[in-house]
Every structure is written in structure tokens, then in C-alpha cells.
């Protein structure tokens, strides 16, 4: 057996085990960084932020800051011994503290360090900053109009004869859609606590999805080497991509202060500052030109995905790449050309967020499908089906990867039947004819989501397992826990491998001191990578234990079998604890480092060809809504979901990801609106103004099922599939259902072409526009 090849069935896996921290969560006993007991003498840092979107910094007067009680001093760019940069793209375009010029409202200028957080926070607001205002770029359209400066290299994906295909198509449509951004609104904001050590050493507790990158950044900023820096993260209070790179700056500031004053330093912005100073999901404007025939079959697609990157590159390159990778969703385009524009704007630098551009890519694809349906007067589901990838033919993506594992036909057929889609749609059309003010809509949308980092080198995982003499296990791996249940899933894999109970496996705080050079816990890949690495480590220890047991009990290795609770060595049953104890006495190594590299993936960005994804995850959702055409308010009345997680390692955890992902996606597309004022300041920067879904926004009928027949055709851990991001995209069905309800006011003759988020205002104004257009 290839060492990377997992067994297809694992005895106690695939069960709905509870989250390992559940009992601590409910008791308030789960420790987050702000809950840790601070070492004596801990000081606190607080950031001062710019109040201009683009300006020259003429001067900063710190006298009122330094006078404030408890203040130890300020940190500015001059206090940085290494590089004043935390750019994850290594383009050196993201200073910790602005120097000379500020590029967005909320850019950090300096930090104040004081005895208490309250003192640091109050003092930070006392600096007198003099600016000379410069013109600023507020959004995508302005950026395009003013030269289209990009923060990083754009991408083009192309296959087939696009211009000829468009020209030859019997029908053609052009349009554009504005897709709003989204704040992560992790409940635990950004935070870091740095503890200085001897020599150059520093240990940072950081709420980050990417400890190894924080380690690199801290070393770079302090001008020291990486082995002096240790990053620890036990758990985050939510991440969603918002802590993939955005924790870097906070960790670095804490480390700078810790080393400068030789005192532990903690930094935690308030919610307004967190939302102002850290990046969000990219908003996009997508312009498209689509050729199709009378049956709704697409012949060619040409589209430009323009994104608000913000003032620096951050992850905007790979995010806009992933948008293009998902511009096909589940659809075969005989000819296609899609291009990205990661545009410079004077707003916070946008970043990773669950789906990483994929949802925006798919939303645009669903928009042209919808446009075709309205142009032809057909149910959009019919147009979707007509354009689905084939299983054996018509299965090449715009990036020339062959879709080998297509199950969308079966998923959609099953969901259409189980949700009674056709009958409900007919009933809704009837209802709308007799209802003047309330209108309903229903839509079924599919999703196909590519799994793997498109940066191929990230597709590796590491683990370190210790077996102690009493048969208990410490499990270390490179993944971080942000609520998604990674720790329990990997623990299940290891417990299963050793045949021991979950209570014998302790998942340790993720630390760069235990597992080096880890990848971000991102791209839905946490379990795929880290569970396989842990299994590799367990396998090594198991092989040694088998050799040992065979020797001890004088049987062949083939006669040693793993059974529940230990091994059977010939006629002798040896409990795991006894086995470990005797192995120790016989000098058997009971620790192992494991490693995994995802096979098959490769990607050549220059040619736009390769296999960036190991496999695809699929899903489909049906949403039904009612709108009020007097106010634009609406309710989401029913949602049915059928989602593919392969063979689930933990159906309870996976169900939670699907439900939670859907609702988070629904928030993105409905009530979560980012509004900047005409001065360039974000005005929706706290829960009072930025509205994520509530319990009362959950559809009253919410039928969520995992496709229990699915199994990953690739030999992933337990034949499971990634689950973090794909279900987020299912919420597009809410947009399409709302579109149908709006379209009803013009008798479905006009494509509603609504921009997102679909606030009540956009619904009402959409209804008014369609009524006007219908009147001619």
C-alpha cells in the first residue's frame, strides 16, 4: 500500500461525534487569547488609525499621547528593527505603520503601549495628525475609469474560439452585476499576545489561521530568524478567512512592543477598529457577454471579473484567480475567456473569506444563466440542466482540467424530487397571479467547488504524534481550530488508527514549535491535509508497535492485528496501554512526524492550464421566498439542501458546516451591506449597522441533507470531501428566488438583474424598475 493511500473504510470513523470543546464552550471554560491569565507586567498596545482615505501625512504630534497616564510610549515605523511590512504576497506593499502616505481610512499609523488597554486606547485617540488630502479611488467603477491600476498580476483563462463563438451564436446578451463584499464578523476579534523570551526569542499567542506565516512575519519585522519565533493558537472565535493574513499585523505589533519593553504585550482592537482596519470579502463588478442558442445552450462566454482589491495585494491575486476558476460553476462552455482585474482602491485591502472569490465567480455564472432563462421565457433550472458538464464529454473547464467526478445530475434530480420543486414552482406562479402585494419566488441552484490550494505548494500537511507509556496520545498537527471541528475530526482519525477511545487522544494547541512550515488552515483543506499527515504519523508508530508485538509474543507480523482497544498478537490480546509500556521498555520509538502532499495537483498560471484541484465538491439548494412589493422586505420561507461531503468523517460536524455556511452566505447576499460615505469612511462597522443573520432569519423550513451515497473517487481521508467553503455558495438560491419574485411584477418577461446584497431597498427599487420597464 502506498503510504499516502488511506484505507477506504475506517472502523469508528464516520460517526457524529460532538465537538471536542463543546462542554467547555457552554461553560465559558474554553480559553481564547483574551481569557488567558496574563503574565505579570503585561502591557497593552492599541492602534491609531488614519481618518483619511488617501493623504500625505504632514506630521504627527504625540505630546498628548505621551502625557496620558500609563503610557509607556508609541511605536512607529521608525521603531521597527526589521521590515515595516506584513504583505503575505511578499510584494512589500503592506506596511504595519503608514509612512509618508495613507492609502485608506483606517490604515494604522502607530501604536500606543500602556499599562492598561483602556489607557492605550484612549491615548491613541489623542495624537494630532496633520494630513494633506490626495484624490482617492472609492470603488471598482471609479478605479476602472481612472486607469485601472492593479495591485497584482491579472489572470486570463481561455479555451476555444471565443470571438467566433460569440459572433456565430444565434442569440447573445451582455450585462453586468455588482456583487457586494462582506465582513467576516468573527465573534472574537483580532487579538495577539506576545511574550518576550531570552536572546531574540519571542512567543506569540495569535488568533490566526496561519501560524507559520505569522512566524515568518514576526521574524521579518523584528529582523530576526524564524527559529526564534514560536506561534501558538489553541482556538479562534471564528475565522472564515479573516484570520488567514489579517492577524499578521496584530501579532507583529505585540511582538515589537514585547521585545522593546521586555514585557508581555497584548493587542486587541475594538469592533469598530477591527472592521475598519482589516480586510473583507472582495466586492466585484462582472461584465459579461454570452452567446447561446434558442434552447438556452451556451456557446461562448467572455467576462471580466473586476474586484476591489483595496490598497495592497494581500491575497487579491489568488482570490481573483479563484473567482475565474469558478466562473463555470457546473456549466460547460464550448468557448470561454474570463479575465480578472484586481484593482487598486483607497479602501482596506480585501482578503480571504470563505470561498475565496469562488462564490463571486459562481454568482456571476448564475446571473447569465438567469438572463438566458428570462430571455427565452423558461425556468432557469431548465437552462442550468441544459448547460451542465457532461460526465464523459463536454467536461473540460476553462483552465483545461477535466471534471472527472461529476455528480451534479444526480444531486439536482434528487433534490428536485425531494423538495417537490416543480409542483411548488407551479403553485407559486399561480399564487403570484392572484396576489398584488406579496409575491413569491423559488429557485434551485447547483454548486461545484474546486478543492485544493491553487498555490500548489500549500497542499502539504504535517503532524507530530507522541504515544505515552500509559497509552495516551498527544496529537499535534498544522491545522488550526476555528470552530469548524478540525480537531475532533483529526482526533477521530488517530483514535481510529490506534483503536483507542477519543478520550485517550489529546489534541494539542497548534504551534509552530511542534509542526513546522504549515499551510494556512484555509481552502477547506484542513482535514484533507492534516488528518492524512496524522494518519501517516500513526502508521509509522503502528508499524513499530507491530514489529515489537510480534517479537514480544513470538508471532509473525502478519499475525498481529489492530482491534478495538489494542492489538491481537496471535492468541494474545494486548491492550494499547500495555503495548506502549512494553514498547518503551524495549526501546521502541513512540513518536513520529507525519507528512502528506496532495497528489495529482499542478497549475501553470502563465498558460492557464493544469489541474489546480484534486477533486470537486458538489451541492444544490432550493430556496423559496416571499417579498413585500410595498417595502421590499422579504422572508426566506423554505430551503432544501442536498450536499456532497463524500463519505463524511463526522456527519454532525459536516451538517453544521453546511447549515452554517448557507446562513453565512445568505447574509452576504441579503442584509450584509458595506457602505462607505462620500469621505471614504466605512459606515457599517459594528453589529448595530452591519447586519448578519439572526436566528429569526433562518428559514422556518430548513431541510439539510448530506448526500450519503457519495464517496470521494480520490483516496482522501476516509473518502471524505472538504466541507468548509462549498455550502456557502448554496445561498445563491436565495438570490435567484428573490429575483423570480421581483420578476413576477413584470410577468417574468424581463430579467431582474439585481445587484447584491439584496437589501429590502434593492428589492423594492428592483420591483419599481421592472414595473417601469414593463410599461415601456
Amino acid at each position: 500500500m502506498n503510504k499516502h493511500q488511506a484505507p477506504i473504510t475506517l472502523a469508528s470513523l464516520h460517526t457524529p461525534v460532538r465537538h471536542d470543546s463543546g462542554p467547555k464552550h457552554v461553560a465559558g471554560a474554553a480559553e481564547y487569547i483574551d481569557d488567558m491569565v496574563e503574565p505579570e507586567g503585561t502591557v497593552h498596545a492599541y492602534l491609531a488609525l488614519s481618518s483619511r482615505p488617501h493623504a500625505e501625512i504632514v506630521g504627527i504630534d504625540f505630546s498628548l499621547v505621551n502625557d496620558y497616564p500609563g503610557v509607556l510610549g508609541v511605536l512607529t515605523a521608525e521603531d521597527i528593527p526589521g521590515e515595516n511590512d506584513v504583505s503575505p504576497s511578499h510584494k512589500h506593499d503592506e506596511p504595519i505603520f503608514a509612512q509618508g502616505e495613507v492609502h485608506f481610512w483606517g490604515q494604522p499609523l502607530f501604536a500606543v503601549v500602556a499599562e492598561t488597554r483602556d489607557q492605550a486606547r484612549r491615548a491613541a485617540h489623542r495624537a494630532l495628525v496633520t494630513y494633506r488630502d490626495l484624490p482617492f479611488i472609492a470603488d471598482v467603477r471609479q478605479a476602472q475609469a481612472e486607469g485601472g491600476k492593479l495591485v497584482t498580476e491579472p489572470l486570463k483563462l481561455e479555451r476555444g474560439e471565443v470571438d467566433a463563438g460569440l459572433a456565430a451564436a444565434p442569440r447573445r446578451l451582455k450585462g453586468s452585476i455588482r456583487i457586494g463584499g462582506q465582513d467576516h464578523f468573527y465573534l472574537e476579534g483580532q487579538i495577539a499576545m506576545a511574550v518576550p523570551g531570552e536572546d531574540e526569542d519571542v512567543t506569540v499567542y495569535s488568533s490566526t489561521q496561519h501560524p507559520s506565516e505569522v512566524q515568518l512575519m514576526v521574524a521579518q519585522v523584528l529582523g530576526i530568524r524564524q527559529h526564534a519565533v514560536t506561534i501558538n493558537v489553541r482556538r479562534m472565535g471564528g475565522g472564515f478567512g479573516g484570520k488567514e493574513t489579517q492577524g499578521n499585523l496584530f501579532a507583529c505589533v505585540a511582538a515589537l512592543a514585547a521585545k522593546k519593553w521586555n514585557r508581555t504585550c497584548k493587542i486587541r482592537p475594538d469592533r469598530d477598529d477591527d472592521m475598519t482596519a482589516t480586510g473583507k470579502r472582495h466586492d466585484f463588478v462582472v461584465d459579461y457577454d454570452v452567446g447561446y442558442d434558442e434552447t438556452g445552450k451556451i456557446q461562448a462566454v467572455d467576462a471580466v471579473y473586476a474586484a476591489r482589491a483595496g490598497f495592497s495585494s494581500d491575497l487579491s491575486g489568488p482570490v481573483t484567480d479563484r473567482a475565474l476558476f469558478h466562473s463555470d460553476n457546473t456549466y460547460w462552455y464550448p468557448a470561454v475567456r474570463v479575465r480578472s482585474e484586481p484593482l487598486y482602491t483607497n479602501t482596506v485591502s480585501n482578503t480571504a473569506f470563505r470561498g475565496f472569490g469562488g462564490p463571486q465567480g459562481i454568482l456571476a455564472a448564475e446571473r447569465w444563466i438567469e438572463d438566458i432563462a428570462y430571455a427565452l421565457g423558461k425556468d432557469p433550472l431548465e437552462i442550468r440542466r441544459r448547460n451542465f458538464y457532461g460526465t464523459d464529454t463536454d467536461n473540460v473547464t476553462p483552465y483545461h482540467q477535466v471534471v472527472e467526478d461529476n455528480i451534479i445530475h444526480r444531486l439536482v434530480d434528487e433534490l428536485e424530487a425531494s423538495s417537490d420543486y416543480q409542483a411548488r414552482r407551479a403553485a407559486i406562479i399561480d399564487y403570484n397571479q392572484g396576489s398584488s402585494i406579496l409575491r413569491k419566488g423559488i429557485a434551485l441552484t447547483p454548486v461545484k467547488f474546486g478543492i485544493s490550494f491553487t498555490a500548489t505548494w500549500y497542499n502539504q500537511g504535517g503532524a507530530l504524534i507522541y504515544v505515552y507509556k500509559d497509552g495516551t496520545v498527544q496529537l499535534n498537527h498544522g491545522g488550526t481550530e476555528m470552530g469548524q471541528g478540525l480537531y475532533i475530526k483529526v482526533a477521530q482519525v488517530v483514535a481510529d488508527a490506534f483503536g483507542i477511545g477519543l478520550d485517550s487522544v489529546k489534541v494539542m494547541t497548534t504551534s509552530t514549535g511542534k509542526v513546522a512550515n504549515t499551510s494556512a488552515t484555509a481552502a477547506s483543506s484542513g482535514t484533507d491535509l492534516n488528518a492524512m499527515a496524522a494518519l501517516d504519523a500513526a502508521r509509522q508508530i503502528k508499524e513499530r508497535l507491530v514489529r515489537h508485538a510480534a517479537k514480544l509474543h513470538k508471532v509473525s507480523e502478519a499475525e498481529v492485528h489492530w482491534v478495538q482497544g489494542g492489538v491481537q498478537a496471535g492468541a494474545t490480546y494486548v491492550p494499547f496501554g500495555e503495548l506502549a509500556a512494553s514498547a518503551y521498555l524495549n526501546r521502541v520509538h513512540l513518536s513520529a512526524a507525519g507528512f502528506y502532499e496532495t497528489p495529482k495537483v499542478h497549475w501553470d498560471r502563465a498558460t492557464g492550464r493544469g489541474r489546480p484541484f484534486y477533486y470537486y465538491s458538489y451541492g444544490a439548494a432550493v430556496s423559496e421566498v416571499t417579498i413585500d412589493t410595498l417595502t421590499g422586505e422579504y422572508t426566506v420561507d423554505r430551503v432544501d439542501i442536498l450536499h456532497d461531503v463524500g463519505r463524511s468523517l463526522n456527519p454532525a460536524i459536516d451538517l453544521g458546516q453546511v447549515e452554517g455556511g448557507f446562513i453565512q452566505g445568505m447574509g452576504w447576499l441579503t442584509t450584509e451591506e458595506l457602505v462607505w460615505d462620500d469621505k471614504g469612511q466605512l459606515r457599517t462597522k459594528a453589529p448595530s449597522t452591519y447586519k448578519i443573520p439572526l436566528a429569526s432569519d433562518v428559514p422556518p423550513i430548513f431541510n439539510v441533507k448530506l448526500a450519503d451515497w457519495s464517496s470521494n473517487r480520490e483516496p482522501t481521508i476516509g473518502r471524505s470531501k472538504a466541507v468548509g467553503e462549498p455550502p456557502f455558495v448554496l445561498a445563491i438560491s436565495v438570490v435567484e428566488a428573490l429575483s423570480m419574485a421581483v420578476a413576477s411584477v413584470a410577468d417574468y418577461r424581463l430579467a431582474p438583474r439585481l445587484d447584491t446584497p439584496l437589501t429590502p431597498e434593492r428589492i423594492l427599487m428592483g420591483c419599481e424598475r421592472l414595473k417601469r420597464e414593463a410599461r415601456g
Binding site: G22, H25, V26, D272, P687, S688, L694, V698
Partner: protein, 488 residues
């Protein structure tokens, strides 16, 4: 001379607390987390919106302790005198056994990242105490003030539906303790004024309403803190100095509700939650609005008096109260005066309230027979959101089908809550029919020039205000088509 005590005294979980040195702007959350190192309650927003800091505050009502869920982030320690504060740390037994509400959450996978979870558990505990087998509607209402970003709420709702199966309030491990604590709480309400601190650090907890009136007259620059749902944010978000502070949320005389055949009088300290039964009884149309004001924790703290007194253009009680012809009772020392509520709002940030004067009560006339009344709130998110606009309509249509009287008031359409007098004029004396309505909607532009902000555009506000008048008309002629969330 009123007797004075020099300590804020309350019970934290099982422990007596007596504070003689605490700043008036010290929030309960900071005090728990920083002073007491009880770090189960989390700070998610520090503005009372996310609920991660939810704790229960028990206060004496008659002979028993009533527990309200509150957001500790905007509740001040100075407002806790004579209460029992219960935090998440108190729920799990000393033997490590989880409380029934906690066990239900664990078993139903109700936590993912876990950061919001202590707040959810406390809100659900408050619900379970009075309704252990809640309906989905009751669960949603109890959780309006709790945000979760991971689970999509579905498993939390499942846990809430099941929590009664894990235990009943009569078997609450904390019940025996509460009975024992009742006498302790009673002893704290000893009729003395509490005063601690000097100058800007001064805290005054008056002994009575008269005591408060005298203190405020003598200290007109002091900040009055009742529910702290607004003043709390002055501190946590804007870092404004608020001292000296007079805390009045405990004054029973300000919690009075007086009813007779013609009017309801709500004293200024009545919380939204306390007012709900009387509002529902007399103004059924207002109950939907009422349940959409903020979340449960804020409705438990926030008061009618505060909502009016702070003069916000987007407070939700002034529009319906103005439409109903409410009168405001102001008091300074022993001097009292009465004005029309609509006259209280002079301009943005400016009200007809003199130094040392406070809102003592508001009187709302009951709706005379035959009059039609409705109030509508429109917001980006249905619940726990600030109104984009809020409109209240009241008309009398005589036997001849003519409009005899019309009073319409809006919030969110101007710098203050404001009547739509041009629209009213376009209705009065006209037949109550669609043609009159279509003619009258044009007058909205004369009454209001709303602004565009993060909640809505000016165009949307104006169009929706017009449509709300259309909706009101349709409702009066039996064509109510309203969105309804249908839950079990």
C-alpha cells in the same frame, strides 16, 4: 435628610459584593473580566448588539427575584445595587455536571467556535426558567440579541426546543440558592441612598423618586443613567466622560404603569419588556413593532423614558406615541409640567428639557372607538435592527366615509420624530378611498426631505413612507397583505 450608604452592594453568583471604589463608567463586563477575572462572558461588540456578554441580572419584584438577560458590556456596575448577577461560570455545577441548558447545547452541536456560546446559554437559561418547553417563536425572540456566525442557528434552535427534556426549572440546581438569596437581596434594598466617589467619579443611587428629583435639580450636569442602552455606548464606543452619574434604573416609582378608561401612563423607568403586556392589550398593532425593537437583552434594560428623553430621530416609540397624541410629563425638583410629546423634539440633538429637568412619565390616550391606527417599522434586517423608517398612522373616518381626523408621524425621515402635517391635510375632509390616498402621497415630499445613510437612501425612505400610507389604507379596507414568518 436621606440616609446614605457608601457602597454599591449586590450578589455575584453566590458571593456578596460591596464596592466602595468604582468608576461610574465601569461596565459590568470589564469588571467581571478584568477585576474578577471571570472570563466566560465575552466582548464581541461592546455595544449591546451581539450578546456574547449576556448575563442574568435578578431584581426583586414583590417577593421573588425576576431574572432578566442583559448585555454586560453596556451595563454599568453602579446600576447593580440590590441585584443578583448570574454569569456563565455559575451554571456548571461544582461537580462539573453541566446544567440542563448546557447539556442540551452540547448534545445538539450548538457550538462551533464557541465564542458566542456563553451568551446563548445565558439567554436560553433565562428563557428556560420561565418557559422550559418554548415554541420556535419564543426561542427566536429570546435569541434576537445573540449573534452567531458559525452555526446558522439551526442546532441552537434544536437545542432550545429540547432543553426542557434535560431538566425542568423546578429542579434547577440554582433554584435553592435563589430562594436563599431573596432575603439577602431584600436586605440590600434598605431605603438608603448610595453615594460613592467624588467629582467626575461620583456615583449616586437615589433612595427614591423624590430623592432623585432633588439630586438632579442640585446636580444638573450629572448624567442620568436608566437602562444604559444609549449611555453605555457613549462610554464603550466614544469614550466620553459621563460622571457624575445618577443611576435610576432601580426606582420602583419610575416603573409604574397606570391605566384608566381613557389613557395609559408609563413612567420613565418602565422597560420595553415591562411595557409589552400593556402595549399589546391596548394597542395590538404596536406589539409587532415592540418585539422588533432591539433584542431581548436591550428590551430588558432600555426604558420608555430613555427612548424619548434622548431625542433620537430613529427611536421607535415616539412615532406611534405622537400619532396617538401622547403627553410628556417633565419634572424638575418639585416642579412638574406637561407638554405634547411632539413638541419635545425641537431639532436634531435638541429637546425641550431644562437643566435639572427629567422625563417622569408619558401618557398615551387610548384609541377612541372607531379610529384606525397602525404602526410600521422598516429595517434592513427584520429584527434587532435600527429603523430605516418607522411610520405611525391614525385616522378617523366618519359615517359619511370622510376623513375627520388624521395624525401621522415618522421616525427616520427627519432630524427628529416628526408629524406629516401636509399629508394629514391632504387627507382630512376627503373621502377615505384610493384616490385620496394617491393624491395624499405626493404631500410626503413637502413633509420630509430624508437623508441617505447606511440604513437606506433618501429615495427609498420617501417611496416606502408613501407605500406605508397605501398599506395603512389597504389594511383599513380589509386588504392586509403582510409578510408573516410562519414558524411552529
Amino acid at each position: 435628610m436621606t440616609a446614605v450608604s457608601g457602597a454599591i452592594r449586590f450578589i455575584l453568583n453566590g458571593e456578596d459584593v460591596s464596592l466602595t471604589d468604582v468608576r461610574p463608567d465601569m461596565t459590568l463586563l470589564d469588571w467581571l473580566r478584568l477585576d474578577r477575572r471571570l472570563r466566560g462572558s465575552k466582548e464581541g461588540c461592546a455595544e449591546g448588539d451581539c450578546g456574547a456578554c449576556t448575563v442574568l441580572v435578578g431584581r426583586l419584584s414583590g417577593d421573588e427575584i425576576i431574572y432578566d438577560s442583559v448585555t454586560a458590556c453596556i451595563r454599568f456596575v453602579g446600576s447593580l445595587h440590590g441585584t443578583h448577577v448570574v454569569t456563565i461560570e455559575h451554571l456548571r455545577g461544582e461537580d462539573g455536571i453541566l446544567h440542563p441548558v448546557q447539556q442540551a447545547m452540547v448534545d445538539h452541536h450548538g457550538s462551533q467556535c464557541g465564542f458566542c456560546t456563553p451568551g446563548f446559554v445565558m439567554s436560553l437559561y433565562g428563557l428556560w426558567m420561565r418557559d422550559p418547553q418554548p415554541s420556535q417563536a419564543a426561542i427566536e425572540k429570546a435569541l434576537q440579541g445573540n449573534l452567531c456566525r458559525c452555526t446558522g442557528y439551526a442546532p441552537i434552535i434544536r437545542a432550545a426546543k429540547a432543553m426542557g427534556d434535560y431538566g425542568q426549572p423546578a429542579g434547577d440546581p440554582l433554584l435553592a440558592e435563589r430562594i436563599a438569596l431573596t432575603n439577602g437581596i431584600k436586605a440590600l434594598a434598605d431605603g438608603r441612598r448610595v453615594e460613592i466617589g467624588e467629582g467626575e467619579n461620583r456615583i449616586i443611587v437615589p433612595a427614591s423618586l423624590d430623592d432623585f428629583a432633588a439630586i438632579y435639580e442640585a446636580n444638573p450636569t450629572a448624567t442620568i443613567v436608566n437602562g444604559s442602552t444609549d449611555v453605555g455606548l457613549w462610554v464603550t464606543k466614544f469614550m466620553r466622560p459621563i460622571g457624575p452619574v445618577i443611576f435610576i434604573n432601580h426606582l420602583q416609582e419610575l416603573k409604574r404603569i397606570a391605566e384608566n378608561d381613557s389613557e395609559v401612563r408609563l413612567y420613565a423607568g418602565v422597560s420595553y419588556s415591562e411595557a409589552l403586556p400593556v402595549v399589546t392589550a391596548h394597542f395590538p398593532h404596536m406589539s409587532e413593532l415592540w418585539n422588533r425593537i432591539a433584542g431581548e437583552q436591550v428590551r430588558n434594560m432600555g426604558t420608555i423614558g430613555g427612548n424619548i428623553a434622548n431625542g433620537s430621530p430613529i427611536g421607535d416609540t415616539p412615532p406611534p406615541f405622537i400619532a396617538l397624541g401622547a403627553k410628556l410629563h417633565l419634572r424638575r425638583g418639585e416642579h412638574r409640567r406637561e407638554i405634547k410629546l411632539e413638541d419635545y423634539f425641537l431639532a436634531y440633538g435638541k429637546q425641550d428639557r431644562q437643566p435639572g429637568e427629567f422625563v417622569e412619565s408619558v401618557t398615551i390616550p387610548l384609541l377612541p372607538a372607531g379610529e384606525k391606527f397602525a404602526v410600521y417599522k422598516v429595517s434592513k434586517r427584520c429584527e434587532e435592527d435600527i429603523s430605516a423608517l418607522c411610520g405611525a398612522f391614525r385616522v378617523f373616518v366618519n359615517d359619511a366615509g370622510m376623513v375627520g381626523m388624521a395624525r401621522i408621524a415618522f421616525g427616520g425621515m427627519a432630524a427628529t420624530p416628526k408629524r406629516a402635517k401636509a399629508v394629514e391635510a391632504a387627507l382630512v375632509g376627503k373621502p377615505w378611498n384610493e384616490a385620496t390616498i394617491e393624491n395624499a402621497v405626493a404631500a410626503f415630499a413637502a413633509d420630509y426631505q430624508p437623508i441617505s445613510d447606511m440604513r437606506a437612501s433618501a429615495d427609498y425612505r420617501l417611496l416606502t413612507a408613501q407605500n406605508l400610507l397605501r398599506r395603512f389604507y389597504l389594511e383599513t379596507v380589509g386588504q392586509a397583505q403582510r409578510l408573516r414568518r410562519e414558524v411552529a
